[in-house]
Symmetry: C2
Subunit: 289 residues, 2 copies
């Protein structure tokens, strides 16, 4: 199996940089799907709804995106049956040739981090990559790096997030440079151990599109690091805002859109499938470069 | 229902500061319990083992501890049936009068953080408190604070963690003070909105026992903040190392021990229950003050 970075490069070359974030919410599912779940008891209805919606979603977006990013929080919210649905979306997406990024932003001390890493890359979730939080430091990140390397998987470390209040700690000046630049320096070191044939490594960075200046700075500082770029679409950043994330090769960044592509419809709209196709097509075209 | 901080104060007054961390691992369960799960298929065996072990564990530790802290990673590792076992340990512990802290170290942008908060405090997990990671900043923490306040629950924000490499980012000097002190200042502000009758608030801090000097400093800087103190026991800190975490009232800190109390035996040992009682009794006595 090629390295994670090479599989990601292949997906971007084939389909472009669009990554579709899968954040299912029961109340936003098409009404027809919600009604169709009445065959099971109330506890199981949300997860059956998720299963049906995500299976159709993957088919609809497949021409336009090579990468998907299920968000663990929304599956966890509906309980353990939801986590079965999460397992299934990761499995199905992999079968369909998508690169899968599990967005769970895990982080804990070593033995616990190891359990999260085994869950992410082992039989439980079997994702191609996982998002992780760096606050606990090196020995908390290490188990994720080790497990990723052993299984040819990847991680994306939070560096500069897309939310409005991200700067509270991330922008604090530490020894003359903002905290996120120190995190970025560590990511560069961690990544240097595992470069693929595409010239990029398996240890990526989450860098929000909502901060174009920082994005450009980080691109220069992190020449061999894949960026996972949230913030495009519903969160307000434009395709122009993310341009700085790409390397001259055209690789270097995957750009996430969640609600903008997966829920561009009112639940009552019978044309919801066409709306998803239209939104995915538009996002893919905007991001083509 | 009294506030989270007052329920925690009540537990500490009744039973002392010991918090038992529940980090179940299939390979560490008593062999008798593992064998007893052969009645179900291989996929369900770990979760049945967890259910049996944790139910007995809660009975054994009940005389010595009023607080338990299940660790989400170990439940997640065995898949969605594991998360049923996590739901059950939280439910059973609550029925038995324990204060429950779900250790999941969640953190994400606002809408996602809200989903994690609803999962933690709503019907999915229904925990009394949740550990959270501050790296994403204020608007990422806010949904947890709001949900905690609405449901009389608590959060523990990672400030200074117990792992050896915690200092990589947490100790970086930012405007002349280490990063963790800036996080501590924010926790003090967040906590000030919700003080209970015990004089402490619902927004606590995770401060490792493995850094006694920082623990003492933070105690002085955070007079109304509950500390959740990991690192005692298997991680190497002694009862003397944690003394600085207490306020003159005797309240102010809960001290976690996980493996030291829950797995003080070899899996083949038929006396495993007596070993747990002995370990819990010893920890409670050491921590009494």
């Amino acid at each position: 199996m090629p390295s994670f970075s090479d599989r990601l490069a292949d997906a971007v070359r084939r389909k472009g940089p669009l990554c579709v974030g899968i954040d299912p919410r029961w109340e936003m599912l098409p009404k027809r799907i919600r009604v169709s779940t009445e065959i099971v008891d109330d506890y199981a209805r949300p997860s059956l709804g998720f299963l049906r919606f995500q299976a159709r979603l993957l088919e609809l977006i497949q021409p336009f995106a090579g990468i998907v990013k299920p968000q663990a929080a929304f599956y966890e919210l509906i309980g353990s049956t939801g986590l079965n649905a999460m397992r299934r979306v990761l499995e199905l997406a992999k079968e369909m040739g998508f690169v899968t990024i599990l967005d769970a932003k895990r982080g804990d001390i070593a033995s616990t981090a190891d359990a999260y890493a085994q869950a992410a890359f082992g039989p439980t979730w079997n994702a191609d990559a996982l998002t992780i939080n760096p606050y606990l430091g090196r020995d908390a990140v290490e188990p994720f790096l080790t497990a990723a390397k052993a299984g040819q998987r990847g991680v994306f470390v939070l560096v500069r997030t897309s939310n409005a209040g991200a700067g509270l700690f991330q922008d604090l000046p530490c020894n003359g440079r903002p905290l996120y630049r120190h995190v970025a320096d560590e990511v560069v070191k961690w990544n240097a151990r595992a470069l693929g044939a595409c010239g990029l490594g398996d240890v990526g960075a989450v860098v929000g599109a909502t901060h174009p200046r920082e994005l450009a700075e980080l691109r220069t500082a992190m020449r061999h690091v894949w960026f996972l770029v949230p913030g495009y679409g519903a969160q307000g950043a434009s395709a122009a805002d993310v341009k700085a994330a790409y390397l001259p090769s055209g690789l270097g960044a995957v750009v996430n859109s969640s609600r903008g592509v997966t829920f561009p419809f009112h639940p009552d709209d019978p044309q919801w499938e066409a709306k998803i196709v239209e939104a995915a097509k538009k996002a893919a075209a905007e991001l083509a470069h």
